[in-house]
């Protein structure tokens, strides 16, 4: 009954709009647009809205990628980027019942929103996106899943980018070789601190600087790696079982080694307080000769120019993995690592023509779709050209420096980076191929009813105390007891086992 009425009303409106169109000579009437919404087959471009976080894209009239997309797909794309408070803005839009047609979610949002039944299960629609089906590996598909269902698609990309970097000119000056083992590493740090590598007659240099946050670029990552470990607080799989790195008996050994380095005074004393790129600036200013960072922070042309300006002789080179008691590893890499994920709202089911357009759009911009080059390198002939089957960037590429934000389904990282940064191609391959310890944090959910941050804080605070000799390492087992009893670590491990079993990494 109700449906029938809507149809009648729609037909009536359409009729009036036609009549109105006749009588007023084509001036757009408000009724006409209403009829268009209610009608089943709109003829004009389909409106699609996207909402992601990022520094921002140009306005539509200055956005060549957007214009090309609209032309190629007959759609009217509204591409919104939030430069701050993305999560709050998304919450408001979703809670207000007007979710964007495509939006970005992080792991927590993916889990929370899918639990609340707000996301569309993409499983049944993958067949409509042949490029996605072809290009996405099963692991990449898995990273978009929540509770076993395809509630989001991974934004493809990311590869190992971090390595140990060292001042080559300091090594040369002191007659040292790049470190290959953990012992070499210590010798280099001591020499950089004690032997005046900058030759100014003052003891004003340190061996190592970096950031102290417990992230993959933690300054001591290479030390833990040489012990065969990630930094504390990570989940590994060994012999088919979940192993929590903090509990591994090698961890206190690695900490003892780090404590010795700190006691020797060869480490930037403010390691834990370095924020942002502070450590990189210190390194560039010649205060330290070793740093663990991504190639982007040391090898990009502008940064090279930065440190050459301070000291024309300075030369930062990447160093391979260090060998230690745990093997040869340079760092650790999260198998669940995801750049970002995109999701569609559940309500899109009720708007089939928009949904179809969204699927067509996502398929188009995914490799090997024609749109992939467009979102990666801009307009052919204007921003890039193809010479002998290879992509060559034209100077106008600077116009589309924002393009990584419109790559909703991501890109194939290695070839993309090497095309965009031809000067750094060697370093990019070097770091991507370094041996790393595998961890699985990104695939593991937090157990319900715990305060994750309290556990993390306690864990990190105590480990820092051990590192800085403020708590004797002999108390490490007491530390683990507290972690188990007060902070409910066993719950986390159970949850980790459950998640990794579901993802097929353990049996």
């Amino acid at each position: 009954m109700k449906k029938g009425m809507i149809k009648t009303v729609a037909a009536g409106l359409m009729l009036t709009s036609i009549l109105a169109g006749c009588s007023s000579g084509g001036a757009p009437q408000p009724t006409a647009t209403k009829a268009g919404d209610a009608g089943a087959a709109p003829k004009g471009p389909v409106k699609v809205s996207v909402f992601v976080s990022g520094p921002g894209v140009p306005s539509p009239d200055k956005d060549p990628i957007l214009q090309e997309l609209n032309k190629a797909l007959n759609m009217d794309l509204e591409f919104n980027v939030a430069s701050s408070d993305y999560a709050q803005q998304l919450n408001v839009k979703v809670a207000g019942g007007t979710p964007p047609d495509i939006f970005e979610v992080n792991k927590t949002q993916l889990e929370e929103l899918s639990k609340q039944g707000l996301l569309l299960d993409l499983g049944p629609y993958i067949d409509k996106m042949p490029n996605v089906k072809k290009t996405y590996t099963p692991e990449e598909m898995n990273k978009g899943k929540a509770g076993g269902k395809q509630y989001s698609l991974l934004k493809r990309g990311l590869q190992q980018q971090n390595s140990l970097w060292i001042r080559k000119d300091w090594l040369d000056k002191l007659g040292l070789q790049p470190p290959k083992t953990l012992d070499d590493f210590k010798k280099v740090l001591i020499a950089f601190t004690e032997n005046d590598p900058d030759g100014n007659g003052k003891k004003d240099t340190y061996g190592l600087t970096g950031v102290g946050d417990f992230t993959p670029i933690h300054a001591f990552t290479p030390v833990y790696a040489a012990f065969g470990l990630p930094i504390p607080g990570n989940y590994m799989v060994e012999n088919g079982k979940v192993v929590y790195s903090t509990l591994d008996p090698r961890t206190p050994q690695a900490i003892a080694y780090i404590a010795e380095l700190i006691k020797l005074g060869v480490v930037d004393p403010e390691l834990m307080a370095n924020k942002g790129l502070k450590d990189q600036q210190k390194a560039f200013q010649g205060m330290a000769g070793v740093i663990y960072r991504a190639w982007g922070e040391l090898a990009k042309d502008n940064y090279v120019a930065d440190y050459k300006k301070i000291n024309p002789n300075a030369e930062w080179v990447p160093v391979g993995a260090l060998t230690g008691p745990g093997g040869t590893f340079s760092g650790f890499y999260d198998q669940g690592n995801a750049w970002s994920r995109i999701a569609l709202p559940k309500s899109l089911e009720k708007k089939p023509e928009v949904l179809n357009k969204v699927l067509e759009y996502l398929n188009y911009i995914t490799e090997p779709g024609e749109g992939q080059n467009l979102v990666n390198y801009g307009v052919k002939g204007k921003h890039y050209e193809i010479v002998n089957g290879e992509i060559k960037l034209l100077p106008a590429i600077n116009e589309i420096a924002y393009s990584y934000q419109v790559q909703l389904t991501g890109r194939t990282e290695g070839s993309y980076l090497k095309t965009k940064f031809p000067n750094q191609a060697k370093v990019i391959d070097f770091t991507a191929n370094l041996p790393v310890v595998k961890v699985y944090n990104g695939l593991i959910s937090n157990p319900p009813g715990v305060v994750v941050d309290d556990k993390n804080r306690f864990e990190q605070e105590e480990i820092v105390k051990f590192m800085y000799g403020k708590r004797p390492l002999a108390e490490y087992s007491q530390f683990i007891d507290t972690l188990n009893k007060t902070y409910q670590l066993p719950l986390y491990l159970q949850e980790a086992e459950k998640s990794l079993k579901a993802a097929g990494y353990i049996q």
């Binding site: 919450n91 979703v94 809670a95 927590t108 949002q109 929370e112 929103l113 609340q116 039944g117 707000l118 340190y206 102290g212 930037d268 004393p269 403010e270 834990m272 307080a273 924020k275 502070k278 210190k282 200013q285 205060m287 937090n446 305060v451 994750v452 941050d453 309290d454 804080r457 306690f458 990190q460 605070e461 820092v464 800085y468 007060t486 902070y487």
Partner: protein, 302 residues
């Protein structure tokens, strides 16, 4: 009653002008308070405020906060940092205002006033950059100097002994000039004949400061103190979040930073609301009792 109606009618234009202000408070200050109800619910974005299920037991989110192993520590930190900021932070503003008031050269006075309140407009990110430039252990000016002359550096930013001092110190630097403005306004309102009379009786400048200026702004000082007590559980989230690091968590983690980390990680809006309610209740209690005490000295706000 009849008298009241009569007076309302008599000043109806004034009451009419009051209306927009009342409406503002009703719409933007009182109505949103109903949202606090999510402190007692398991808030879910889809269901909205009213349809979200009630928390079971009702104090679930409060218990979450209370049972945190860090509850005692963050509460103590919040109170202490706030208290230090009030105790050490109010006198500089008052002293500065009285010093500026005593300056006789008008242009110099204006200049000092402008320069002293400018830091108020700097964001904490910038102030942290400046603090770092001065106090950093590796390349801060102060530590370089200490190293050259006493061969010993002080880890100002990573030591639990120093961190609160840095917090309070940078806060004073930022806000002393700004808070002096209100005291200056109060000083300007003191009857100049009092000073003349005092001068006739042979009082010096210090005597006049002590017996005229200070008592003259006493009510403003008490008013500001009461207002600050209301915010005693806001120890300065922006500042601390930007300045702290893992070494100094034990002395600097406050309620707001805790809620920010915990709430952000688990999208727990109900927890945030519960803690906000808890903070407001304590603040209200303090304001009411402080006002009671102040009234005994004849200085209350109401």
């Amino acid at each position: 009653m009849a008298k009241a109606i009569k007076s309302i009618r008599r000043y109806q234009a004034l009451y009419l002008m009051l209306l927009p202000g009342l409406a503002y408070y009703a719409v933007y200050r009182y109505a949103p308070m109903w949202g606090s109800v999510i402190a007692f619910k398991d808030f879910n974005i889809v269901d909205g405020i009213w349809s979200s299920p009630w928390a079971n037991p009702w104090y679930k989110h409060f218990a979450y906060f209370y049972n945190s192993p860090y509850f005692g520590q963050i509460l103590a930190n919040t109170f202490l940092i706030s208290l230090y900021k009030i105790v050490w932070g109010m006198p500089p503003g008052i002293i500065l205002a009285m010093l500026i008031y005593e300056v006789r050269h008008a242009r110099f006075k204006k200049w000092i006033q402008t320069v002293s309140y400018l830091p108020h407009f700097l964001s904490w990110v910038i102030i942290y950059g400046m603090v770092f430039a001065f106090l950093s252990e590796t390349n801060g000016i102060v530590n370089r100097w200490l190293k050259d002359y006493i061969f010993h550096t002080v880890p100002f930013l990573t030591s639990t002994d120093w961190f609160r001092t840095i917090l309070v110190g940078s806060e004073i630097w930022q806000s002393a000039g700004w808070s002096a403005i209100i005291y200056l306004a109060a000083l300007a309102g003191i009857d100049p004949t009092l000073y003349e009379a005092a001068r006739c009786d042979g009082a010096g400048r210090l005597r006049m400061l002590w017996h005229i200026s200070l008592p003259g702004i006493r009510s403003v000082i008490v008013l500001l103190l009461i207002l600050k007590l209301g915010h005693i559980l806001d120890a300065g989230f922006d500042q601390i979040y930007i300045m702290y690091n893992v070494h100094v968590y034990p002395v600097s983690d406050i309620i707001d930073t805790w809620v920010f980390r915990v709430g952000l990680e688990q999208l727990n809006f109900s927890l945030g609301a519960a803690v906000g309610l808890f903070k407001s209740l304590i603040g209200l209690l303090l304001v009411v009792s402080a006002n009671r005490i102040a009234r005994r000295w004849g200085e209350g706000v109401w």
